[in-house]
């Protein structure tokens, strides 16, 4: 496949792996966080762990939209869908995310709620047009990547005069999450995690550019390499981070030059700005309440805001106390560290959202990487004895 195979070339990968092995200083350890679930997925799917030296450790970050959604929002969506007039549209990933008390959208659908899976916001508009007597609500989630599409749908709905379309908005902002992780040692709100550099978002950075990360270099002395989602992109970005560490530098660098410019996609930013405004505060799973970390519809678009159009009860629900999604999301623990992993929590019976989305750290480890756990445990026991 043209323009895809080039970035999955095994021979080139082995060449980069050899350079990494050569340049990684055996006296050092390298702890890098890949922020995005897309990177987590690529690392697991292509077995990159096998190509890296043992002292280069990748820590999975919170960049999985489904994973950071607090279960209260799932409960709220289920309440919305219970309204007999409402047709709730959602991306498939969200269907199985557990709400509180074992509830989920897929179970609500089975119980009779009109919940449909869609692939794009264009489907959402079409369904609203075709069903004028239904209240069609789009369950919008995602980081900056998906926000412009939601903005576009709202504007298109206004233009078409669609009176039965609205959005249950859960769009969140990447820089807020990075800041929360970096401020953890200071605020004490989250467990501190040793991170010497970030594999920076791919698609998010296409929209927002690489500029918004500069503040993390200035304030925290962090290293960020904006990276594409293909496995070769990730390998090259890891090498770039290792070089920064070895050279004692900290900078924002752009590996994903084929798609990311410093200023980002200005048209998309303008669109988002036209439709959305910052929320004062928003709850994230694992990261807790964070100020100015999410978006809501501006007042002039209020008629498309499901939270204004319907009475949506504010639900705050706590995660299952044994579920470690929260600390896994910020890289403080690995999926296999969770007692529920692979026992009561599997993709068929997920206890936490990280086991649901293919971008979730637990699902990626379960689906692709868990065959290494047994050998790892044996190694650890050997070292301990």
């Amino acid at each position: 496949m043209k323009y895809v195979d080039e970035y999955r070339d095994g021979k080139l990968a082995r060449a980069i792996a050899a350079t990494i092995a050569q340049e990684a200083d055996p006296a050092k350890t390298y702890h890098f966080m890949e922020f995005c679930g897309g990177h987590t997925h690529a690392i697991s799917r292509y077995g990159l762990e096998d190509l890296l030296p043992a002292n280069v450790r990748m820590i999975h970050g919170p960049g999985c939209p489904v994973c950071v959604l607090p279960i209260g929002r799932i409960d709220e969506a289920i309440e919305l869908a219970k309204n007999p007039k409402v047709t709730l549209l959602t991306y498939a990933d969200l269907m199985r995310v557990p709400g509180s008390k074992g509830r989920s959208l897929i179970k609500a659908k089975a119980a009779g709620a009109d919940i449909r899976m869609i692939y794009s916001t264009l489907d959402a508009l079409r369904i609203a047009e075709e069903n004028p007597d239904r209240e069609v609500v789009f369950f919008a989630i995602g980081f900056e990547t998906t926000t412009p599409a939601t903005a576009l749908a709202i504007k298109a709905a206004a233009k078409k005069g669609l009176a039965n379309f609205s959005v249950f908005c859960n769009h969140v902002l990447t820089p807020s999450a990075i800041r929360a992780i970096l401020e953890a040692p200071k605020t004490g709100k989250l467990p501190p995690v040793k991170i010497q550099g970030f594999i920076g978002p791919a698609h998010v950075s296409v929209v927002i550019g690489s500029k918004p990360y500069r503040v993390f270099v200035e304030e925290f002395g962090q290293r960020i390499v904006v990276s594409g989602f293909e496995p070769l992109d990730v390998m090259q970005s890891i090498l770039m981070l290792i070089r920064q560490v070895n050279e004692g530098r900290a900078a924002v660098e752009n590996q994903y030059i084929r798609a990311v410019v410093p200023g980002g996609n200005l048209a998309a930013q303008k669109l988002v700005d036209e439709v959305f405004d910052l929320r004062d505060t928003f709850e994230w799973r694992g990261l807790g309440h964070m100020e100015r970390s999410a978006l809501k519809l501006r007042d002039e678009w209020a008629r498309f805001d499901a939270e204004k159009r319907f009475v949506v009860p504010r639900i705050h629900a706590s995660d299952n106390p044994a579920c470690e999604c929260g600390v896994i999301l910020i890289g403080a623990k690995q999926p296999a560290d969770c007692k529920l992993f692979g026992t009561v929590c599997t993709p068929e019976t997920p206890m936490g959202s990280c086991m649901v989305s293919s971008e979730g750290a637990c699902a990626a480890h379960w689906t692709y990487g868990r065959f290494r756990d047994k050998a790892k445990r044996q190694d650890e026991r050997r070292i301990a004895s």
């Binding site: 095994g10 077995g47 096998d50 068929e348 692709y368």
Partner: protein, 355 residues
């Protein structure tokens, strides 16, 4: 002279072009008899079905083999017509394949139709004719059948439920529990074609692809494999729902072994890869309807693959991996990138109603 009016009316053919199935077609009266005669008998005709009884009576299969296999299957695919096939041909191929994977020579099929009120007669005829053609081409007659009509909304167009019987040659022992470490894993051709073809024709997904479903009857290919491999064959399976990944996991669990495959060796069409990339699917989880996997003794693997390649349905056959010892029964894959990963069962639904 003209026949009396009443007789002429009774003989008036159904209006297949514009007519629809109504509840009278399932009520056991004349309308039902006419539907069966003009749609199903016309399409399937063979001496056993044409006996017109509630059961088919036919001689016990001749030739060697004292054991029979029997299978049953239901078809609820949506859409009913898709690039490269339809629910009718799919039902015939799928049932024959389930018989053939047991190492059996298929002998006869049955088909039962559950039809939704309002279903166009023209579509029903198209499906029946496609089934009849598939059965004739495979040389396996549909010897008995049944029709039911349910009220609108109680079914989705038409559902087909089938059964198939066949005879296994003496000395052939095949089963999912028989894979042993060191055995080779063979796939008969490109994977993922059927699922992608179905996906491309679903109404809420608008993308064009030249990919056709691979729906095909595999009993002649398995005949070739049995001739070439004989007792070296451990098992054969058709990786339908859940794709290659599900089938390999079934085998690993049944045989209490691990399986390791090489991504580089998997035959996958470029268009299928592209569609999967676009839709976020893993071709290993995508359904096939005309492919099989076989686990065979290593010493016979090359000869079996060579024999398969000489058959049109096995032209792209390849050895894709081997059976290994693993008390966790994982299916692992060495990626083209050089790392390792698990090939897991699919969680939840990837494609709704593909077969």
């Amino acid at each position: 002279m003209n026949a009396p009016t009443e007789t002429r009316l009774r003989h008036r053919k159904m209006d297949v072009k514009t007519g629809r199935v109504d509840l009278s077609h399932g009520s056991g009266g004349r309308a039902m008899a006419q539907l069966i005669a003009e749609i199903f008998h016309e399409a399937f005709s063979n001496e056993w079905l044409d006996q017109g009884n509630d059961q088919a009576t036919f001689p016990a299969p001749a030739g060697p083999g004292g054991r029979m296999v029997m299978t049953t299957d239901g078809y609820v695919v949506s859409p009913l017509f898709f690039p490269g096939g339809d629910i009718g041909s799919l039902a015939v191929h799928g049932t024959i394949n389930d018989v053939a994977m047991g190492g059996a020579r298929p002998v006869a099929l049955s088909a039962s139709f559950i039809i939704e009120e309002g279903f166009p007669l023209a579509d029903l005829q198209r499906i029946a004719r496609s089934m009849g053609a598939a059965a004739r081409e495979a040389g396996v007659p549909i010897v008995t059948g049944d029709t039911k009509v349910v009220e609108r909304g109680k079914a989705d167009g038409v559902f087909i439920s089938t059964a198939g019987i066949g005879v296994v040659a003496d000395g052939l022992e095949l089963g999912g529990h028989l894979a042993r470490p060191g055995d080779r894993v063979i796939v008969s051709g490109s994977i993922g074609d059927h699922g992608v073809a179905i996906m491309s024709s679903r109404e809420n997904l608008t993308f064009d692809t030249a990919i056709l479903s691979d729906s095909a009857a595999l009993h002649r290919l398995t005949e070739v494999m049995i001739a070439a491999g004989g007792p070296s064959l451990r098992l054969m399976r058709d990786p339908t729902r859940g794709g290659l990944a599900a089938t390999l996991n079934e085998v690993a669990n049944q045989s209490k072994v691990g399986i390791r495959i090489e991504e580089d060796r998997l035959p996958i069409k470029a268009e299928v890869l592209a569609a999967c990339e676009f839709l976020g699917l893993d071709p290993l989880n995508v359904a096939n309807e005309g492919k099989l996997i076989a686990v065979v003794d290593a010493s016979a693997a090359e000869a079996i693959v060579a024999a398969m390649r000489a058959h049109p349905l096995g032209r792209d056959a390849a050895i894709i991996g081997e059976v290994i010892e693993d008390d966790q029964h994982f299916v692992q894959m060495t990626t083209a990138f050089g790392g390792g990963r698990i090939v897991d069962w699919l969680s939840g639904e990837q494609l709704p109603r593909i077969c």
